[in-house]
């Protein structure tokens, strides 16, 4: 719907890459266009979704949460039940099947919380490819378990110490590594960001979330939901959750950004609420930055949302008014993390808990005849130690 200028969503997107990488991104786009409708490619991907990932993922009616909130019916799209524990595998399988067809034997990736890194390391093991993951040194500490998990899967993990040692720096370092070696190497970008064609490719591979959810909700409710919610860092699970609902104008699309310690403080990662338009990491979009265009250090309790930008299609959905983006603080997310655990027996990723938190605010104001779907993008096992620490509980591992 929204691609106008080549590689653009309205005024957002583009291909702001060093000349050294231009042929690599052009080659990627050509390969994607060649294979995306190829029956053999589609069959292989669907087969892996079914036999390896465990798709379709469930659309679960959260009855106790619904009763507790007393408004709209709450459904959870259970991406946490995918193999590797998050939605990230949807995109990685697609990109790596493509990389294989392009003759690549090595993949590199950035990761924040470690979910995308784990998914990439997993598929590299499955497909017999070399894998190197770039992860901010601070995130390596916050998500030590995922670092070991990637190593267990045979990947090399590079702790990135440049800049703020978080996701943004991991992306920068992965880009630098790609300029060094692109002949045999594909960069498996993990979100709907970066230079064209990445935002389109990642969105397409993640759109399976809303393709399934739309069918599932029509079976369950006989009508479309009033709203769909997802957390937003770079925005891949949100883009996947929104995509097939975009033409359904009666469905509200709501992205939940990380407000950290509050958007009135400097410690947040709320790009839409507090950012401005800029050009960085290959794309024109919204970024948290100062008046000289220096990218701001951002903060969130969630390593996966701790990023100063947002994918260009989200910027477009925001500016066109089709989607709205709301800030959710650390405190609200941690409360929601505990709330879902106790009420439904489902421990959500702290990233996904941002979307749960917003559902708690809006569901009570909505009609009981309406429903909302929350994308439960990942499981929270990785966050348990950090949540205990947040509550002042000392865990000896």
């Amino acid at each position: 719907m929204s691609e106008q200028r080549h590689g653009y969503f309205g005024e957002f997107g583009g291909q702001f890459m060093p000349e050294t990488l231009m042929n690599a991104v052009i080659e990627l786009e050509e390969a994607y266009n060649r294979y995306k409708d190829d029956p053999e490619f589609i069959r292989e991907l669907e087969d892996l979704h079914h036999t390896y990932t465990g798709r379709p993922s469930l659309l679960y009616f959260a009855e106790r949460m619904t009763n507790d909130l007393g408004g709209a019916k709450i459904y959870l799209k259970r991406e946490d039940l995918n193999h590797t524990g998050s939605h990230k595998l949807n995109n990685v399988l697609g990109q790596m099947l493509l990389a294989k067809r392009m003759g690549k034997t090595r993949v590199i990736a950035e990761t924040g919380a470690g979910q995308h890194g784990v998914a990439t390391a997993t598929v590299a093991a499955l497909m017999g490819m070399d894998c190197e993951v770039f992860m901010g040194a601070e995130d390596c500490e916050r998500q030590a378990l995922n670092v070991y998990r990637m190593q267990l899967l045979g990947a090399t993990v590079h702790a990135v110490t440049s800049g703020t040692s978080t996701l943004k720096d991991a992306v920068s370092e992965a880009m630098r590594e790609w300029t060094n070696r692109m002949d045999d190497t594909h960069y498996v970008l993990g979100s709907v960001m970066g230079a064209h064609p990445f935002p389109m490719i990642v969105r397409d591979f993640q759109s399976i979330i809303s393709r399934e959810a739309r069918e599932q909700i029509l079976v369950a409710e006989g009508k479309l939901p009033a709203a769909v919610l997802a957390c937003v860092g770079g925005g891949s699970n949100a883009m996947g959750m929104f995509y097939h609902f975009i033409p359904d104008e009666e469905v509200q699309l709501i992205g939940c950004e990380a407000a950290g310690r509050g958007i009135d403080t400097e410690e947040h990662a709320a790009t839409i609420a507090k950012g401005s338009v800029g050009i960085f990491h290959g794309m024109k979009s919204y970024f948290c930055q100062n008046e000289d265009g220096q990218i701001a250090p951002v903060y969130s309790i969630s390593a996966g949302l701790d990023y100063p930008g947002i994918g260009p299609e989200h910027a477009y959905l925001h500016d066109s008014g089709r989607a709205q983006y709301v800030p959710i603080t650390d405190d609200e997310a941690v409360d929601a993390f505990e709330y879902l655990s106790r009420l439904e027996g489902i421990i959500p990723a702290i990233e996904s808990a941002h979307a749960i938190a917003h559902a708690r605010k809006i569901a009570p104001t909505m009609s009981k005849d309406d429903s909302i779907i929350i994308c439960l993008s990942g499981r929270g096992d990785k966050d348990v130690a950090a949540m205990a620490k947040y509550r002042g509980v000392d865990i000896h591992e």
Partner: protein
């Protein structure tokens, strides 16, 4: 206005790079005067960016040091204004500064975001005012140069195109529309000193020459006089960044003599080519 082409009018050009604000903006100003006195034909002034994705560790660290001093784009324009309007003072700045106002072409090297957010028209108007001849923007490829081209040209500033070892069939398209000079990237990867340059620069330059007459200078990885001479032999000049930034990092605010001698040696090597 100084023109980029002037840099190539007296033999092969030596083009050093320095990060503005590293060791303080007053030190940068002095170092630029020093490099002019030592024979630089054009100077690339780096406007530091928080997340320079095309740079190796040496220039990344210089950018961080500069930004930690609080240097702003306005401070950098003000420095260029001083370079253009006054000479250095050997009495209090030492024997290595040029005592004349700087007349060689100066270009900015920075990323798109600082220019975009500062305001493109305002940025290039100030470039014109202080006599900046061109900009080098490593994250703006041919396909996206419309972001800056019209704003820059309106103010008489040229947008330098980069050609990389991977450009291949893109060379024709880029070279045909190139202005100022072509920045030929010597190697894959990011900026930084390299022991060896393996790319076939000769054939890249020959291809470029089929489509344009504007000068070609080679950069990325050059640090020794031998490398500079070899690259200048194959092109119209050599660009050196990380090696200079390293000298500044090593000597801090006392890099005057080391910089002067280094630039002088490198210019002599390039002149032999």
């Amino acid at each position: 206005m100084s023109k980029i082409q002037d840099a190539f009018s007296n033999g092969k050009a030596f083009i050093p790079f320095i990060t503005a604000g590293d060791q303080g903006i007053a030190t940068t100003e002095r170092y630029i005067r020093t490099m002019v006195k030592a024979g630089a034909d054009m100077i690339e002034i780096g406007i530091p960016f928080s997340d320079p994705t095309a740079e190796g560790p040496v220039i990344q660290e210089a950018s961080n040091r500069a930004l930690d001093t609080g240097v702003t784009i306005d401070d950098i324009f003000d420095m260029v204004q001083r370079l253009r309007t006054r000479g250095g003072h050997a009495s209090n700045e030492g024997a290595f500064v040029s005592e004349e106002p700087v007349t060689i072409p100066l270009v900015f090297m920075t990323y798109l975001n600082p220019i975009f957010v500062y305001g493109r028209d305002k940025f290039f108007a100030r470039c014109e005012e202080v006599n900046i001849s061109g900009v080098i923007v490593p994250d703006m490829p041919f396909e996206e140069k419309g972001e800056l081209q019209s704003y820059a040209n309106k103010h008489g500033v040229e947008v330098v195109s980069l050609i990389a070892p991977t450009s291949e069939h893109r060379i024709e398209m880029i070279a045909k529309e190139a202005e100022g000079f072509i920045y030929c990237v010597s190697s894959l990867g990011v900026t930084g000193v390299r022991s060896e340059i393996k790319t076939d620069i000769k054939s890249i330059v020959e291809t470029i020459r089929k489509y344009t007459d504007i000068p070609v200078a080679v950069g990325f990885g050059i640090s020794t006089p031998d490398q500079a001479r070899a690259m200048a032999n194959l092109s119209d000049g050599a660009i050196v960044g990380s090696a200079i930034v390293k000298l500044v990092a090593e000597h801090g605010e006392q890099a005057d003599k080391a910089l002067f001698e280094y630039v002088k040696t490198m210019k002599a090597a390039v002149a032999e080519a």
